[in-house]
Amino acid sequence: MTRPAGEEAELTQAWASPPGWRALSAVNHRPMGARFVVTAFFFFTIAGLLALLIRTQLAVPNNTVLGPEAYNQVFTMHGTMMLFLFAVPVLQGAATYLLPLMLGARDLPFPRLGAFSFWCYLFGGLILLSSLVIGAAPDAGWFIYPPLSGKAFSPGINVDFWLIGVTFAEIAGVAGAIELTVSILRSRAPGMSLSRMPLFAWYMLATAGMILIGFPPLILGSILFELERAFDWPFFDTSRGGDPVLWQHLFWLFGHPEVYIILLPAVGLLATFVPVHARQPAFLHNWLVASAIGTGFLSMGLWAHHMYAVGIPQMSLAFFSAASSLVAIPSGIQVFALIATVGMGRPVFRTPLLFALGFVVIFVLGGLTGVMVSLVPFDLVAHDTQFVVAHLHYVLIGGSVFPVLGALHHWWPAATGRMPSETTGKIGFWLLFVGFNINFMPLHHTGLAGMPRRVYTYPAGLGWEWSNLMASAGSLMFALGLLIFLGGLAHAAFRGRRTQDDPWGAGTLEWIATPPPVYNFRAVPVIESRYPLWDQAGLRGAVLNGVGFMPDPQGGRRLAPATTEVEAVPEMALDLPGPTWSPLVTAAIFAGLFLGILVQAYAVAVAGAVAAFVAVVVWMWPSERDHDLPREVEAAPGLMLPLARGHHRSPAWTALWVTLAADAALYASLAFAFFYLWGFAAQWPPAVVRATLSWPAVTALLPLVASVAAAWLAERAIRRDDRAGLVRWLAVALGTGVVFLLLQGWAAMALGPPSRHARDALAHVTWIFQAFHLLVAMTMAGMALARARLGDFAPDRHLAVRIATRFWTYAALLWVVGFPLVHLAPFLFVR
């Protein structure tokens, strides 16, 4: 069975990105993934140079290379950039690049969202970096505790750069997590059931789940903080019902999952490349999966172990201490299972296995000091000393940087088609490994000997001199190792030996063609094993000859199968968007909006918000009318699959629920802030707040309920093929929605001014949050209404209506929590 001549060229043309500067409109996952990784290493280089500045300053006592102001900016930016602009994005980039290839997919299910995520990350990073250029970088530490970072003690723009830049990068992270979750659940090759899914995909699934739940608390915290800094809404001000410790909770609700968000994908990379070089399937595959998921769950319950010294009740301390040490179990399983994979296999000791060894040694040491600091009495010694600096670098460099470098070496041929040098790889590794330990091992001692972290200078005579000097020497060695390792890779990209397919003899799909063509797979294969290239004889030949799903682009469409979540049964045909400027333009508009907020040019910010709204509507507006689209596509000879676009179970449907989960986490963080302040802050219950219930607030409930009912009636109408009914009920929903907004806005005017008390500020945030969600739902419904009038939708194809209805209902349900918080809580304040 041979495929028609010219089909391959057609495929290439369908999937090609435009050349030259227009390549910026590309949305394919591989250019996006590569841009992510390259950008992440750009920020890594800068943050690394900042680290060298830190070590230069601390090499000897009473040094004066940096003054206190410069030093505080340098260490804050080092931490902020490493965590927000390197550690998470580099792994998101690796996943963007590798996951579709591993899963047997041609691209991510939402290529434009992936591109948008990259541009947000880049612009957020550049905004943050620009602060360093103008000498006004954030200087309050990477967790910017108020009140030091509040307006009173940090009046400059420095902290605003942090809040805006980091929030932008966080939004990119959440967008990426939505994309990756849906990709893993819905775009696996047919037959790749969850039990056959590569370990990296499992790890990314757990990671994406953690991002969806873990990033929103910080996004919320940053919004509250910027409101406090810009408009004096007192969330963290003790004199007006706020509490600086609320920020610590919100920050670490994000910050602890963050550590595992960085660690898990890196372990996932290891669990994927170690078996290749050990020539042995990953040992205890299911244990690894369970450990990854278990770590994800545990990581949500540990945040307070960064706050032992705050003075929280002893019972809670004991709980957090126990939960924290519990993480040792899944971590131990993963480390030992990786060692066992090598120990059972017939390993070939190339550079990637060396980095795996580096991971094991360094991460185990970091884990052991982690168990130490999970014990409250010891943490009260180690906390905020150089011991913690040593601990966190063991965990993060061992747990993330070493695996990432090993992964770069391993997948370099897949990306560039050329072999990396084993010589520079091995020399680089040993310099990195030895340099790292010389740098950070002594700092354990320095910390126990009483040296604080975040000090720009220290006196002689306290026993800290030799260890600091040693650390600084080690940092130079580490930097040299990086230079050699990355230089070797860069050289190999242009001058390396050309590789043939699958140079390492790997078992997963990304090695079918090395490097893969733009469409990834000539045809999407059916998968029967965890290591298809090892177990399915003739698979490579079949794929390269176009045997499988969607070998034919059918008129230049970017086709790929979408499958079911668990069993990966082919369900429908994705028809993915090609190059478009929408993501770049929308992200640029958001950047303008954020810059407007940053420099307090609120007219610019408002214009940006309007422009962003327009850009999103333009983006979401479908490029083709429903009746111009084929209803079904031939997915394989004799197999017709419905087109995913508009289908009621399209991946967009999955994406809706994933997005709502993240949004619910954001709202839960807001409710947490409210109850936390109510329970723990001074000046509560607020003496200034009177318990009154205005009639517009109560009356507004009626149109809200009516609008939800109208939305559902609209959906029922189109299911019965009643287009006029659809239009009518959507219009009713929009009308009642407007009435709700007007009444609630009126009721809000009766609330106290937001700068009066934290409770008033939270009430305003809550109702604005509500209004924003209803506006989003109304936009969805408005677009559906416009499309209905143009003839879109059918009884079996009205996804946009279904999504609008669900979102509308969700938005209304928020008010079940929001209404009591805003309007009823004052009745419960005990005086």
Binding site: P68, L357, V361
Partner: protein, 325 residues
């Protein structure tokens, strides 16, 4: 395996500095050091196990294990070992009395107030009903009895830690935290701020002097007295400059009409060994240098540089301050 160097380091550095948690003088610090050593030994055992597995896997390519022994290795190292060791460590850590101790009524209480970037210590007046005895950057405690510290801050978050005595506790606006610490032997130690608090976080240390009961009582009585009258012309001139330059609007000198309450109390400045929160020895040249160039020595401190004063004026001022014993 790589912990051996750390062990060696610990032995070498047993002498430590006077700000080292490795030189405990109080029960909390001693218990915690014991806990650390316990976890260190556990770590050595874990490292040895990992090392064995790594050697087999990476260095002995001919010696391969079957699935069953390997399963036991993973289950043993990843599940069984932590399931036994972690609860033991947790119980061991819970047995150590934590320093937070607000319930401990009756203990002698010293208020510690943190300011950017110095420390204020307020003692109950030895005369019942008298105003608190206020001093700065030098803490005196009696040996052998638990002292309760009431921890407050006047601005941002700071953290109070005397490594030789016990664990650190944060000082947070709007909250009152307590720490209960005891020194078992007389001596001089160093404490510092351990929560990043701004530009001069690095230069926010204090001296702790643990004194035998009787000596400490004497010190308290001395400290409760108003400032000594200046002796000699230069010192008297210094006092006039002190008043004219407005020093008293921030600093207090009890008995000399200076009642400022936002900077270190100078009533007995001359009895302190250091100035500027532990950064300079208390000498004539330090005093004149500090007054004239505060912002060069400690940029970001809340005291301006008095660089308009002439040399003789600075010396007179220093002479006055040197008389405040």
């Amino acid at each position: 395996m790589r912990l051996l160097p750390l062990l060696v380091l610990l032995l070498v550095a047993g002498c430590g500095g006077d700000q080292s948690s490795l030189d405990p003088t109080g029960p909390n610090a001693r218990d915690t050091l014991w806990l650390f050593k316990l976890t260190l030994w556990v770590s050595v055992i874990v490292c040895a196990m990992v090392a064995l597995a790594v050697v087999q896997a990476w260095l002995l390519p001919r010696f391969r294990l079957g699935a069953r022994p390997t399963l036991w290795m993973v289950a043993g190292g990843g599940v069984v070992l932590p399931a036994i060791v972690l609860p033991l460590l947790l119980v061991a850590s819970l047995r150590i009395p934590w320093p937070f101790a607000e319930e401990r009524e009756g203990a002698f209480t010293i208020d510690v107030v943190a300011w950017q970037f110095w420390w204020e210590f307020r003692y109950p007046n030895p005369v019942p009903g008298g105003p608190p005895v206020v001093t700065a950057n030098e803490l005196h405690i009696p040996v052998g009895v638990p002292v309760r510290f009431r921890l407050l801050t006047e601005d941002v978050i700071h953290s109070f830690w005397i490594p030789t005595l016990g664990g650190k506790v944060d000082m947070i606006p709007g909250r009152t935290n307590y720490a209960l610490l005891r020194a078992d032997a007389p001596g001089e130690f160093r404490g510092a701020c351990f929560e990043f608090c701004g530009l001069q976080h690095a230069n926010m240390a204090f001296t702790v002097r643990a004194l035998p009961q009787a000596e400490w009582q004497d010190w308290m009585w001395r400290e409760a007295r108003p400032a000594a009258e200046p002796e000699g012309d230069e010192a008297r001139k210094g006092r006039e400059i002190f008043t004219a330059a407005g020093c008293g609007s921030c600093h207090a000198v009890r008995g000399h009409g200076a009642e400022g309450a936002t900077a270190p109390d100078l009533t007995h400045l001359a009895s302190r060994r250091t100035i500027g929160a532990g950064i300079l020895p208390n000498t004539r040249s330090s005093l004149t240098g500090w007054i004239a160039a505060t912002q060069q020595i400690k940029p970001g401190a809340n005291m301006p540089s008095y660089n308009g004063l002439t040399g003789p004026q600075l010396h007179a001022l220093a002479a006055y301050l040197e008389g405040l014993r």
